[in-house]
Symmetry: D2
Subunit: 343 residues, 4 copies
């Protein structure tokens, strides 16, 4: 394996989209957003051919640049997937790399008074734009979503919200089972916030004034602040924590808004959308630091309960944690490609 970046057999086009829906977003984040589109090897040589498309969503704090990060003895997802297509091991597919970063580190791919209309941006702006500019197979049977962590969450809930647009998804270590994912973090956060008189906005001011992530609690507090902005903003957009920052005790009304976004609890409400999926990939590491292995199991159990057919599901718990598991994506993308490619 070469230690240096290698040329792709396919191609990544780097675009920018001026989003009307994100204009005047509450955090004043840029409405001109980067978007990358990968076309597989052969795309230019077969000018009549149309391709299935998978939209790739990033985890919390992720931006498009992350897809090119290099770790020794590992290779970035685009290089690995490209190699799969180059070898003909999966039907060729267009990949769309979506960026939904916000000042708080993410949008959870939902519409929110706290962050902006990132769900609509994805479904109503990016998808039509891709179909207009690329030779995609422009139907839900040939359109999938995939992502890790918050990106896996985004993949799952977007498919639930819009089964008319998406017919398959892969969620890797995806947010799920809120009590498992979040409550231990609320408790740790309550302790950390003692140094800030229980006021997370005082931490936020501190965080922005210094080098990020030099305090061990930074990532945890950032995520809780950001998800509060996504899931439980006040009417004026202010993030509201679902726990008492003095004790970690749940605030039932706000917590309920988080539970309403828990994929496990959403399954019954979106059972039709889920039964309409052609392919669902779920995996997580058995030692996931957010207990998303338990979340994956609970989500999978809920799908069974809702009558989703076993034949469309790939479920797997692997030995590992939450980090450095991007290598799980390429095989899932190949699996999706086989299921959303035209017969």
């Amino acid at each position: 394996m070469s230690p240096w970046p290698t040329a792709l057999a396919g191609r990544i086009d780097e675009h920018h989209i001026d989003s009307a829906l994100l204009r005047d977003n509450p955090l004043k984040d840029p409405s001109r957003r980067p978007l990358w589109v990968y076309t597989p090897p052969g795309y230019d040589a077969e000018p009549e051919r149309r391709y299935p498309v998978t939209y790739l969503l990033l985890g919390y704090t992720g931006t498009l640049a992350n897809w090119r990060n290099h770790i020794a003895y590992r290779r970035p997802v685009p290089e690995l997937v490209d190699e799969i297509f180059a070898r003909g091991e999966a039907p060729p597919m267009i990949l769309v790399f979506v960026d939904a970063w916000t000042t708080y580190g993410g949008s959870q791919f939902v519409d929110s008074a706290g962050t902006g209309r990132y769900h609509s941006y994805l479904c109503e702006e990016i998808v039509p734009w891709v179909d207009a500019h690329y030779r995609s197979l422009a139907g839900r049977d040939h359109r999938a979503l995939a992502g890790k962590s918050s990106g896996g969450f985004g993949a799952a809930v977007t498919a639930m919200f819009r089964p008319d647009l998406f017919g398959a998804f892969a969620t890797h270590s995806g947010d799920s089972l809120s009590e498992a994912q979040y409550i231990p973090h609320f408790l740790m956060a309550a302790r950390h916030l003692r140094a800030y008189d229980g006021d997370i906005l005082r931490w936020w001011d501190d965080f922005r004034s210094r080098v990020a992530f030099t305090q061990e609690e930074d990532l945890r507090l950032l995520e809780l602040l950001g998800v509060s902005a996504c899931f439980s903003p006040a009417p004026d957009g202010t993030p509201q924590l679902p726990f008492d920052p003095r004790t970690g005790a749940l605030r039932p009304d706000i917590w309920q808004r988080w539970l309403d976004r828990d994929p496990v609890r959403m399954v019954p409400r979106y059972a039709d959308a889920l039964r309409a999926q052609r392919a669902i990939w779920i995996d997580a590491g058995t030692r996931d630091e957010w207990f998303l292995d338990l979340g994956a199991q609970a989500f999978r159990d809920a799908l069974a309960e809702a009558g989703v057919d076993d034949s469309v599901i790939h479920f797997e718990l692997f030995d590992g944690g939450h980090h450095a598991v991007e290598y799980r994506m390429p095989p899932a993308l190949a699996w999706l490609a086989q299921r959303i490619a035209p017969a």
Copy 2:
């Protein structure tokens, strides 16, 4: 400080009580129970004098022998308290060391179809026995409870249940705020139970067949099994876990039975009993492994909400964890003695 056990100025009498209430307990644990009574220096020299009494309750898995365990450079609680009395730094007091051990490691000092009638044993058998055999001040104003961890829980809830019997208590790192104390452990337990097909009774069989506590999960699983026996037994006494052992997800109906035993949530229902207390000591370590620092804060906040006067409360979070904090008890016992001693 002598490294070896030192003679007490007072005296510990070791008794056994044949409990009628514990006869035929569901776990077939002994109904003949050890009981120790400490009389302070001067007790024998003043044959007319009567003394206030504090009942000391043990933490989970505790038995009376623990009170004599020696750790280097530390001294057991009885020696430390005895020294306080010997120096005249607190009014002399009788101490009663209660043993409520069960096969599962504890009783939480409640009456339960899963373990036995340990609350009644304490209130209806031990207290009268002590008053009959010792020169106690036999009124609630001069009777207190104290304990650490499950013993602190027992102290708090026994005072709530029986304000006619007890007028003061100290809870050190006491069980409190159930979501903080337990949910992280449910999640870890769900992972551990994968090796036992999700069946905690299979773990229990394994645990009893080998040297105890040689597996890191032993203490956690023991406690969850035992508290299930105490708080949420089936009608036939079988312990029922408040979580799905496959995912850690809460089982709302069983979990509610645990919440009903959460001191924080009990406060409003027992507000009268709490307002009637003459002294309440609450402390916990800021790094408590069961997040009982958060529980202590929540309990203290609930007392304020219920109108318990600040003047009867000592509240303190100290730098430390859950273990090896027995040195917190002697000053609390001295503080209690000052408040329950006759004027």
Copy 3:
């Protein structure tokens, strides 16, 4: 299993010995020392019978009281051994519980200008006293040593120093392979000592002024100070650390004095004494926090190199750490009894 202490089939006599050798010891520790002697079931009924003897040495910070500490679902060593003898599963044996505690927590069972003459106290005062007061088999073939951690070290080196007195030993998680055991601790200690300007005596003053072991570094620093007093005192007895407290870098001359006490490095010098042993038990946990599993392996390899016969050695690495492994002693004591009992 009863959760409460159970009566022994044999008997423990609690003595005190006035040691001439420890009088005027440099730390002004008591020269009147406790000593316990266990006689097995049947000892009184067979007044002519003589018994082999094993001397039990405690780990660092240990005092005799530790032998009676109770942990839930476990039983103290004396109870477990007594049960073995009561069942006739091993030849009956006298056990002598030695206390060599010092102000710094231990003596390593050596003679030192920093602590006192604890090696001589054991060999020249305790052994003759036991032989004079009990029906022991007063020969080296029937006399063994056993201990854990520093006690295991004491067992091994005392047998090396005095093969005329001792013919067998058991070392459980015994100090060994100094670079593995100590160097990581020197490094951590150097960091901790930043708060004390690199002066361990400033830490020592602090330690004695407050509740012991409430700072995470306490045990580590205590041990390093104490072993320095045992192994590398200045001529006036002052402990000298074998590392630069500013960087953790080794001080070669002082470190060499520690290496001279490393059982692994002592083996070639004491090969005759070791080849004369009738039984050597070595074990350690694979996750020992002092890497004594590696030390056990190195010691065992050195014995092979020195020509000690495999047939006299029991070697075992078990799944576990350094703590709460006292349950390893009873089977080793039974094994020793079989080898030092008269034919």
Copy 4:
């Protein structure tokens, strides 16, 4: 701060160099190597101006692509330095990004029979090439080295070896004080290698056959194998570990070869070279996982001992560990620029 990569005010040129010295290297690694050169803002506008140069060396497993890795809320070193120059906060300087990756993850920037002639490649090929192709100030007074971890080591030892070429260096969390840096890792490695019968080459075969870094010991074993190839190869180039893989015990002769490469121990031998440096920056995090904070202190103390003037040294221990501390480099580069820029 923009979450996305931002355009530089200066420019990075990406080159490849065909190295004659690396041809036929023992690991058959590519002799055609990438090299990046950054020119500061204004470089093109002032065609007569010459600039000081700093050579940046990567940590273990590093490749040039790492310089562009994005972490949320952080910015890559080139962007941060570029901004310093763009703001005029330091004299403009050329930066040369050196890649010395090998199959084992690194070269330690030394010449070795186990890996290749990476020291010579840097000094005899890269430096002349840069001076020939860029308007550098081609003298040692205007040439510096900088790096983190193994890169900091490389900076320090290269300056010691070749004071004729380099007159300043910065070592961030740089390898130093071998017993602190390595011995704890030898011990952990010995444990890990039990699963490979003590044969690190069996681990290496396993490592190459699967996704890298999915086992927790991977990074540790890779580094120990690789540094053995760099520092202690057999005559045929085979890496020789400096410890017994069965026990972690040091192998004195091989270990001595590592000590000969310890910057702390090299100081006396290279005192002239060090006294000739114009600027030396040393820093490390107080919780460095390789104890390089202790190494930094020991190195700094050795410089004082060798008579290096305090005025040329910047020394700092900061709150932090070994990872994610790249933000320390830009201020150090600015500091170097001020000291190696022409007056």
